[in-house]
């Protein structure tokens, strides 16, 4: 226990009430940030749709995006306009919700470099935009951040932040905090040197760049500011790497950002360490597979916690960090809750990084437990990988994660529960020596997938993050790869890879309603109040992301690419094919 941690915790107690009101729905009718609010809860105060009437939901409108890539992320609703960002080529549509048929106000078609498609590891996805001060801000696959006038669609600025030739693309949704736009790169499979940047909202100029690993001067860690609960010292993110392996060690930032206005800290997860062969990068490899807390003003690192030291299994920690208050052991705590790819659900004190709860939310065998005293996992040595280990059998969860970071969970303060899409997959793993060739994959592993125990490949679960327990689950035939939303009507929505959009009773897990939306769902649903006063629910259909790579033959657009069905999920291509569609539902 560090004394610094205690001091910061007192600060949290004083200011916690202020945060509670700020984090939850600034404007309950709209959806202006990727995760709904700064706390990324994806909770809506709307309650017209309830467990009693959800069975009467019906589609009210659809729109084909004209794009086939995986439709991850979510639309935004600002006032009477809905904004949709497509996968590459990253078209921005603005629909007028106040008129029948929702005609377009504008569409913005950026000139995106097609070479980016070959540098994106896992389909040319985009996880959405953010709205702030009259601007729609989002990222282009080829490494640029753009701001577009929300009224006119006019391009206000465009800044190159990532370098394609170094293996960097951008797929994440930015967050605007005050006058700062926060962005990070994809490229954990391309030997990038991961970073987070802040841009000025008015001009688009880069204000600061913070590396996720390297010397303190590049990581923006100073002894005055950096007070981590489990780690102290200097150059931790340099000395925990063998040789100069940190220079191409990955740690991308392709997930979600959250922000605590009281502590003035932005939270983000870093991705896997590269290459997959861990023997080429001995050490903990800080701060890959970690959560970092930085000051948005100057980027200074305040604390960090590593979920998977010396990542042997591609366990990215890019999953959302949901901010709320929970009562743990009789004490009210301001927490950050994170469902890691490694299969553990972590509840941390978000002022200090102290680990409060860490329990497996899916079947886990790479580690026996996480030690709350040290914060470190107790790894099963039989499950360690690396070239010298040969083919290591039966590691759970597999590298798709217990939950995909691309599929954000939601949290209801009414039920006190988290609603989590999960995968039930395991893997074998064989690493080989990887050669770094700039701009090409830096991976070298053969990783066959297998089904997890129980005969189902996924489940949608409700999780109590105060005790670390599963409250209910809905088993699914295929991995659940959509995000979720939960409402004050106690209804939680999610989608499935075989193309169903479903509503569940948030308290009981009873399935209330389902509708076939065509292509598999890898996007995150939202809910909002339309100009007519009614509550609507919107979601993308459009299978893709990793499922574009691994699902076998789910593409029909390329006659020169025909694959057999995936051996671990041979039926999936039977139920779905690619194709982007926006769906809107109401009572």
């Amino acid at each position: 226990m560090s004394t610094n941690g205690s001091r910061a915790f007192i600060g949290t107690l004083i200011l916690s009430t202020v945060f509670a009101s700020a984090a939850r729905g600034q404007d309950g009718d709209q959806w202006t940030r990727p995760g709904k609010d700064f706390g990324a809860t994806r909770y809506s105060e709307l309650d017209e749709i309830t467990a009693a009437n959800a069975g009467q939901l019906r589609p009210t409108w659809t729109f084909s995006t004209g794009v086939l890539g995986g439709h991850e992320g979510q639309p935004l609703v600002v006032g009477e306009t809905m904004y949709v960002v497509t996968p590459y080529p990253n078209v921005l549509y603005a629909f007028d919700l106040s008129e029948e048929d929702y005609p377009l106000r504008f569409k913005y078609r950026p000139d995106v470099n097609p070479a980016a498609v070959g540098v994106a590891c896992c389909d040319a996805v985009n996880r959405g935009a953010v709205y702030a001060e009259g601007k729609i801000v989002y990222n282009l696959l080829d490494g640029r951040t753009v701001a577009v006038d929300a009224e006119t669609g006019r391009e206000l600025w465009k800044t190159k932040v990532a370098d394609l030739t170094s293996g960097e693309t951008i797929t994440m949704a930015p967050l605007v905090i005050g006058d700062r736009v926060i962005v990070g790169p994809s490229g954990g499979e391309y030997g990038i040197h991961g970073w987070l940047k802040a841009l000025d909202l008015e001009t688009g100029s880069v204000v600061w760049t913070a590396r996720n690993m390297g010397p303190d001067s590049e990581v923006l860690a100073s002894p005055d500011t950096f007070k981590s609960f489990y780690d102290e010292g200097t150059d931790l993110a340099l000395d925990s790497w063998s040789g100069d392996s940190w220079k191409r060690g990955g740690a991308p930032v392709w997930g979600w950002l959250s922000y605590d206005p009281t502590l003035d800290l932005v939270y983000y997860g870093t991705g896997n360490t590269g290459p997959y062969n861990a023997e080429q990068r001995a050490g903990d490899n800080k701060w890959s597979s970690s959560v970092l807390a930085r000051r948005p003003g100057d980027g200074e690192l305040v604390w960090a916690y590593q979920f998977t030291p010396n990542d042997n299994w591609d366990y990215d920690a890019n999953a959302e960090n949901i901010l709320t208050e929970l009562t743990i052991d009789g004490q009210s705590r301001n927490v950050l809750v994170h469902f890691d790819k490694n299969g553990f659900a972590y509840t941390l004190d978000r002022a200090t990084g102290e680990l409060l709860v860490a329990e497996p939310y899916v079947h886990v065998n790479w580690a026996k437990r996480v030690d709350l005293e040290t914060g470190r996992p107790e790894v099963d040595p039989e499950k360690l990988t690396g070239k010298s280990h040969g083919m290591v059998k039966n590691i759970c969860p597999n590298l798709e994660g217990g939950k995909s970071p691309a599929s954000p969970a939601s949290y209801s303060p009414q039920t006190g529960l988290f609603y989590v899409p999960t995968n039930n997959l395991c893997m074998d793993w064989q690493s080989d020596e990887a050669a770094y060739i700039q701009g090409t994959p830096y991976v070298s592993a053969n990783v066959p997938y297998t089904a997890g125990p129980g005969g189902h490949l996924g489940a949608f679960i409700a999780w109590d993050a105060a005790t670390g327990q599963r409250v209910w689950e809905i088993k699914e035939k295929f991995p659940v790869w959509s995000g979720s939303v939960v409402t004050a009507g106690d209804v939680s929505f999610y989608g499935t890879l075989d193309g169903w959009f479903k509503a569940a009773n948030a308290r009981t897990g009873e399935l209330l309603w389902k509708f076939k939306v065509g292509s598999g769902v890898v996007g995150a649903p939202i809910t909002y109040r339309g100009p007519d006063g009614k509550q609507y629910v919107a979601v993308y259909a459009g299978i893709g992301g990793d499922w574009f790579l691994i699902a076998g033959d789910v593409r029909s657009d390329d006659p020169a690419d025909v694959r057999p069905p995936a051996d671990f999920a041979p039926d999936l291509a039977r139920y779905t094919s690619r194709g982007g569609m926006l769906w809107i539902f109401a009572l």
Binding site: V119, D432, P441, A560, D561
Partner: protein
């Protein structure tokens, strides 16, 4: 833009041109050494402007079907990160399958050499300059040594 979409239109235009000029003119004349633009490069066996063979078309793999060259190529396929996009064994991942017997840009020796050496616009990096000619040919030998199904247009579930 997908170049292949243009091909049928181009082919029709070329046929029309040939018809106008009468018999015997469909055969293109030798291109003078002095022309400023490089020879047209066609991406598959149909529709190449002027019906000129791309420079790589006539290249012949010096290794032929040599098994040890194919084996070297297999090692390179992992070592040079080809499997990072095309999947282990070339079964397809973020990049297309190389073992389905179907080709965006042609599956002959010269076309494969071209794809690896110069890259392709939809994401294939150019390895010319990183790999020697001989090394590229080893990769070509490996890819061509992979068993390819005769035709797999139908997937059927029981």
């Amino acid at each position: 833009m997908d170049l292949r979409a243009l091909k049928p239109a181009l082919a029709v235009a070329l046929l029309a041109l040939a018809a106008c000029e009468g018999p015997g003119t469909a055969e293109p004349e030798a291109v003078p050494e002095s022309r400023s633009a490089p020879l047209a490069v066609r991406y598959d066996q149909w529709g190449s402007a002027g019906n000129l063979a791309p420079p790589a078309e006539d290249l012949v793999n010096p290794f032929g079907e040599d098994a040890s060259a194919a084996q070297q190529g297999e090692v390179l396929f992992g070592a040079m990160n080809c499997d990072g996009c095309h999947g282990g064994g070339g079964i397809g991942f973020v990049g297309p399958s190389l073992v389905d017997g179907r080709w965006r840009y042609g599956g002959e020796d010269g076309a494969l050499f071209h794809s690896i050496f110069y890259g392709r616009a939809r994401g294939m990096p150019a390895y010319g300059g990183i790999l020697s000619d001989a090394t590229v040919w080893q990769l070509v030998t490996y890819v061509r040594s992979q068993p390819v199904p005769d035709s797999v247009p139908t997937v059927r579930w029981p």
